[in-house]
């Protein structure tokens, strides 16, 4: 009985330990690696406390904020998600912090010789894309619309990383991912012409629970230090 009471206390204490000293970052999964470096860089200039990372699909971020999860800043892969979150929280504005583009992911060395989005319409190929409900999927839909290509994917993955995995494992012949995802390795990227390539915008929203430190973090992202981290990971300014 006493052991249980003690455990309960520790859990409650742990839950309460956050707000003042710690900054919790909710990021879209495509921002996973860059966020780790951003957190480190920020801690270097503002060592007031830890920066915790929580990566998930953008749609999960919305659910989390709606459900009152203790997030202080969110980084999303599209405007719609950022606006939805800003509206829910009703405190900070959406701030565009970086950009990205789409690219076709194929097996290393491009053995099937895929050259353009129109090649993906070939019914013999197994193509995977992100589900439309996910930002990467929305961008993919936009891309396909602009390219005037009708595609029947084998699967609508829950996240763009899922698409990447399927191509890397050899289960899919090709997929549409972000340019930044190419850095993960194990795949070759086939570029998509600028004419049809949608610009992917990344937004940051500081949430009320993060207070001034959250705002500080968002501002940091726009500084040259912050932008350098983005560039290192393949993002466009």
């Amino acid at each position: 009985m006493q052991v249980m009471a003690a455990a309960l206390l520790v859990m409650v204490a742990g839950a309460c330990a956050g707000p003042d000293s710690e900054l919790v970052l909710g990021v879209a999964s495509s921002l996973n690696e860059v966020s780790a470096d951003l957190a480190e860089a920020f801690s270097a200039v503002s060592p007031d406390g830890d920066v915790q990372l929580s990566a998930s699909g953008s749609q999960v971020l919305v659910s989390q904020v709606r459900g009152g999860a203790p997030l202080d800043v969110v980084l999303t892969a599209d405007a719609a998600t950022a606006q939805a979150i800003a509206a829910l929280d009703g405190w900070g504005d959406t701030v565009r912090v970086a950009g990205n583009r789409m690219v076709i992911a194929v097996a290393e060395g491009n053995p099937l010789g895929i050259e353009a989005v129109s090649d993906l319409a070939n019914g013999e190929l197994t193509i995977v894309v992100a589900a439309s409900e996910v930002p990467a999927g929305a961008y993919t839909d936009e891309l396909l619309r602009r390219a005037n290509v009708r595609l029947i994917p084998a699967s609508n993955e829950a996240s763009v990383r899922g698409v990447l995995t399927k191509v890397r494992l050899g289960e899919a012949d090709a997929g549409i991912v972000y340019q930044t995802d190419l850095l993960v390795g194990g795949i070759t990227g086939v570029p998509i012409s600028d004419a049809i390539n949608p610009t992917v915008d990344y937004y940051a929203v500081a949430l009320e629970s993060g207070g001034s430190r959250a705002t500080e973090f968002v501002e940091f992202l726009l500084t040259s230090d912050g932008q350098q981290v983005f560039a290192k990971h393949g993002f466009a300014p």
């Binding site: 749609q59 919305v62 699967s155 609508n156």
Partner: protein, 256 residues
Amino acid sequence: MTRQIPTRLAALAVVGVLLVSLPLLGLLARVPWTGFLGDVDDATQALQISAVVSALATLAAVTLGVPLGWVLARGTFRGRTVLRAAVLLPIVLPPVVSGVALLASLGRSGPVGGLLDDLFGITLPFTTAGAVVAATFVAVPFVTLVAEAGFRGVDRELEDIAATLGAGPWRRFRRVAIPQAAPALAAGVVLGWARALGEFGATITFAGNLPGRTQTLPLAIFFELEQDPEAAFSLSVLLVLVSVAALAVARRSWVR
């Protein structure tokens, strides 16, 4: 009778019940009952896929699991413990791990999947068959577990008598063991079906997500959550109601 339950245990039991039932009650409270039927109607495709996949998976799970349960209950070979542990593994594995394992072995580039592709042109990922495989994988352990327990409960003396009456091993299995274990086997079928119906992690990892082919009801709910949360609530409640009905049926034939 309740006087005989110590207060401490009763209190903990109440907490347990609350923990399990509050989320479900909360869900029921949020369902927009006016739009319920409409939401369900929109999900017809997912419902159909779920119905087909879970039915086929249950059939496969029973065909494999019941004999497995028999072998584990009556077999006297060495390594039975290891076999049981291997068969029950999917129960303790996180479903996504099951999916990863299936992908690694039965995927296009996997040892078995590659063979299937080369020799027969069969690929399982991204197909309804793949969804059936994923659901079967997670359902078989349940059927096996319950079947083994059921068979263990069959009086061996009855089988002995059947032997003296001229019944060989197959006839003893079919005409004595199965009828005697019938309540447990029925419960196993229902549990296996419920598990197959609710499968998510392995399905999305191995079979993928394509409406009309691999998007089962749980997958539809997951993606619906961001488009139209209320529809997701409706569909979730539907799944809960179906599962509750299944458990009620299973319990009746199990606890006799």
